[in-house]
């Protein structure tokens, strides 16, 4: 689908503040509420907007540890990636899975209640994942900035 300036304005506002009411979104983008909702619906139907998802603050549920685990996969086995990813999806504490072109093949974002819990997940669920060649851990200290906005 073709995106015009009105669509772009709506998306920019929506990405900057996903919780805007449809009225406020229309106002900020300078269109009528009817136009705004028609455009948003169309972009959702056409897959430009893939979805709107609730963000869960895991620390409010007692998950205070967040670790970014970076894997190099043993690529001598052609099924290595698929088998690794399928097994990683079975670990409930994995909240994000990314694959890359670069030194790192896969990154898993893992949450845990505390360091003891993390150690248990790491030993029982992570080290047992198939086809791992190397693992590196980055322990999250703080989130300085997180935004969905694009430089549109």
């Amino acid at each position: 689908m073709r995106i015009d300036d009105t669509d772009r304005r709506l998306l920019r506002r929506l990405l900057a503040d996903p919780e805007l009411s449809s009225g406020a979104l229309a106002d900020l983008a300078g269109v009528t509420p009817a136009t705004a909702s028609r455009r948003i619906d169309k972009m959702t139907r056409e897959g430009v907007i893939r979805g709107q998802f609730a963000v869960i603050d895991w620390s409010a549920l007692g998950y205070d540890v967040q670790v970014s685990l970076r894997f190099t996969i043993d690529k001598t086995n052609p099924r290595a990636f698929d088998e690794f990813l399928a097994a990683a999806r079975e670990v409930p504490e994995v909240t994000e899975i990314q694959t890359f072109l670069g030194k790192v093949d896969v990154r898993l974002h893992v949450i845990a209640r505390d360091m003891g819990h993390y150690q248990q997940i790491y030993r029982d669920r992570i080290l047992t994942l198939p086809h791992i060649a190397e693992i590196e851990a980055l322990m999250q200290v703080a989130s300085i900035a997180e935004r969905g906005a694009l430089p549109l």
């Binding site: 790192v104 851990a137 980055l138």
Partner: protein, 151 residues
């Protein structure tokens, strides 16, 4: 920490898959009245468990074909304050995420670019010129999925 029950967990799972579900729809799905469903959502929001929304869009349709994760190490710790680095990096429009981390790198960044040459421009002009920046490792994102997490 707020205690949550199985219905709360079902609500969280449903809303992480679709945040636009109304209280009426949630109620119908899980056998609650609309006001009862609304009260649950409000309680989860007030407790800070439901912490807003995320919109996912097709970046390529908007001309952003490349996402890169960067690991950044500061070169001269102590000479440059973390605050200066953080303020400068968070002000770059192409930077979507800045996490302070412990390990091989000091910061983890997520960057969007139009294409690889646009990324190279951002890397050279904006990232490598940051105060105190040292070693940088770039990995180009190929695929990404979010999982529901332990609920």
């Amino acid at each position: 920490m707020t205690e949550i029950d199985d219905t709360d967990r079902a609500f969280l799972r449903a809303l992480s898959a679709d945040a636009t579900l109304s209280a009426g729809e949630l109620g119908r799905r899980f056998g609650l009245s609309q006001p009862a469903a609304w009260r649950r959502v409000k309680r989860l929001s007030d407790a800070g468990i439901l912490a807003g929304r995320r919109v996912e869009i097709d970046h390529e349709a908007l001309g952003f074909g490349v996402t890169v994760f960067l690991g950044v190490k500061l070169a001269a710790k102590g000479r440059v304050s973390l605050e200066d680095f953080e303020r400068a990096v968070a002000a770059i429009p192409e930077v979507q995420l800045v996490h302070h981390v412990l390990g091989l790198y000091d910061y983890r960044l997520r960057i969007v670019a139009r294409d690889l040459s646009d990324f190279e421009r951002i890397l050279r002009r904006r990232i490598m010129t940051l105060p105190g920046v040292g070693e940088v490792e770039a990995n180009v994102l190929l695929s990404e999925e979010r999982r529901p997490g332990p609920i």
